[in-house]
């Protein structure tokens, strides 16, 4: 079978010592980045990008990819132990993971997170192997109309799934869309909303915004409250979850994996949303919803699997369609182009070593991570034991350098800081930052596809509906919007009866 041949080819690529090294290094850095709060995959990838210039594209992508899904593993460690999410996709793990740790069950929490992540990650890679080529062929039939409709689905999913006040999330998404409009217009070449500020010429930088919104704001928040950073001194023995734990969590893991994978594929989806949704779903289907927030193991198993599966799934749009589904993918896109590769449906045929090498490296990377995570936890804990007063200047420094190294531009640093303040205020007033960031990414792409579609159809709006794929996607979006209203009506009417 073709697939087997390709996988074997991928292994040949990955098993070269240099690539193994890069893979290992990537997942190691990724885990570390995931562990350290305030430093996330986008920042780390941005910072390490220059160092990939003098290696082959394969090695570069393998390493950068490793950082990404490695961070998903690492983030859970801090979430569980210190109630600080190492990065955004691990926020949900704090809710129950930390509670479990307080009850002395840190070991099983960490263990189930690691195993769940491994299962999910491997599943995602397998799915990627099988679906990738299929989607690449499908992608040839994608015109701007299809891209547009797909992104509409993405935004709808975002609204449908937001936890907390939907109005607030919609507001954040709207702000994100507006911010996305800043910068040079792709089609007319005019500058919009830049007010002559040079930094904004390319739009509000996504990476500084993310670093500020999630990283700096976290530091600011922590400065205020002198919460004691005592890492639970309860000895973390017994990292293996009991059979009971497995029985409780297995469905959560399965659900999280499938859910996460599909959410990862959708542009605008991604690991963060996947983790939140998984948590919400676990809570809904649980027989003991009141346990959530107090240490329900499903609250750890589900989201952790979801975010790893989403990380894997997120590669699909990038490798097959050339569309980045989130910030990290966008940076990877940049990295590919710097190395002279053209992402998109042709990537598979033009650079099969990159395509299959990356996919196979993820199998190996996941295995490495499983081995790394469990035994090295004491090491990560030591890293966290560095007193926060010493740690946060380092975090701030990393963020500053990271923001600067994006474009050698101090303006990016300022953008990051502004978003830091914004993020801090948002957290204080309980507004969710994720919809804003996602809308920020999707907005410009959405608009571009929209205008390209209309340009090619000469202003005929029906083009979105006459093309079958586009129509199908739009129907999905509409259904997603209508379903909550219908179910609410049903609930209200049954209440009245």
């Amino acid at each position: 079978m073709d697939v087997i041949q390709n996988v074997i080819f991928g292994f040949q690529v990955v098993l070269q010592p240099i690539n193994l090294f890069y893979c290992f290094f990537g997942v190691l850095v990724g885990t570390l980045v995931g562990v350290l709060p305030g430093l996330g995959p986008p920042a780390a990838i941005a910072m390490l990008l220059p160092s990939t210039f003098h290696t082959t594209p394969v090695s570069a992508v393998i390493m950068l990819a490793g950082i990404y899904y490695g961070a998903m593993y690492g983030g859970s460690t801090t979430s569980i132990l210190v109630n600080i999410p190492g990065e955004a996709a691990s926020v949900v793990t704090c809710l129950d993971g930390y509670q479990m740790a307080r009850k002395g069950r840190a070991g099983p929490a960490l263990g189930i997170a690691a195993f769940g992540s491994f299962i999910a990650g491997t599943f995602a890679v397998i799915a990627l192997t099988l679906l990738g080529p299929l989607l690449a062929t499908l992608a040839f039939r994608f015109g701007p109309q299809e891209y547009f409709s797909m992104m509409i689905v993405g935004i709808t999913v975002l609204t449908y799934l937001s936890s907390g006040s939907m109005i607030k999330s919609l507001m954040m998404a709207a702000v994100g869309l507006i911010l996305g409009g800043v910068g040079m217009d792709g089609i007319s070449g005019k500058y919009r909303f830049t007010h002559g500020i040079q930094v904004l010429a390319d739009g509000v930088g996504l990476v500084p915004a993310v670093m500020g919104l999630f990283g700096i704001s976290e530091v600011l928040l922590n400065l205020e409250a002198k919460i004691d950073r005592d890492i639970l001194a309860t000895r973390i023995k017994n990292l293996f979850p009991t059979l009971r734990d497995w029985a409780d969590s297995i469905w959560a893991i399965i659900r999280g994996t499938v859910l996460g994978f599909f959410l990862g594929i959708i542009p605008g989806g991604g690991a963060i949303i996947a983790s939140f949704v998984s948590y919400a779903i676990e809570k809904k289907v649980s027989k003991h919803p009141e346990e959530f927030g107090k240490g329900a193991i499903q609250g750890v198993a589900g989201p952790e699997s979801a975010n790893n599966a989403a990380a894997g799934g997120a590669f699909i749009p990038l490798l097959t369609l050339g569309i980045p589904s989130n910030a990290v993918m966008a940076i990877l896109l940049g990295a590919l182009m710097i190395h002279g590769l053209q992402p998109g449906p042709l990537l598979m045929s033009n650079a099969p070593d990159v395509f299959w090498g990356t996919i196979v490296s993820m199998y190996i990377g996941n295995a490495m991570l499983l081995v790394l995570n469990l035994p090295l936890i004491p090491l990560w804990v030591k890293v966290l034991k560095v007193p926060y007063s010493l740690l946060y200047p380092l975090i701030i420094l990393f963020c500053l350098i990271g923001a600067y190294s994006i474009g050698n531009n101090a303006g990016d640093v300022i953008v990051m800081l502004i978003f830091g303040i914004l993020g801090y205020l948002m957290k204080k007033f309980r507004y969710d930052g994720a919809p804003m960031i996602l809308a920020l990414v999707l907005g410009p792409m959405l608009e571009e596809s929209f205008r390209q579609s209309l340009l090619s159809s000469r202003g005929d709006f029906s083009t979105f509906i006459t093309r079958p794929i586009s129509l199908g996607l739009l129907i999905v979006a509409v259904m997603l919007l209508i379903i909550p209203i219908i179910t609410k009506r049903k609930r209200l009417s049954t209440l009245e009866e």
């Binding site: 390490l48 420094l397 990393f398 190294s405």
Partner: protein, 78 residues
């Protein structure tokens, strides 16, 4: 309030980064943070800052080859 001080210092860092250069400014920032905000001892603050600045420099400039701003200390061939 701590937050305001930190914010001001970080903003100043960003503004002056390209003029004064990475090494100098980082050193200053770290010393400021450690000395005034975290109220560590003079010695601790200075030593730790030097260590961290040097470390950061090694990691980012030498190893990762990212171009950190040199500022007016350019002549020292940092």
């Amino acid at each position: 309030m701590k937050i305001i001080l930190v914010l001001i210092s970080v903003f100043l860092y960003a503004i002056f980064l390209e003029k004064l250069g990475f090494m100098l400014l980082t050193l200053l920032l770290l010393i400021f943070l450690l000395l005034f905000i975290e109220k560590k001892s003079w010695l601790y603050a200075t030593l730790a800052s030097i260590a961290m600045s040097a470390g950061a420099y090694l990691i980012f400039e030498i190893w990762l080859k990212s171009q950190l701003p040199k500022g007016f200390l350019e002549f020292l061939r940092f």
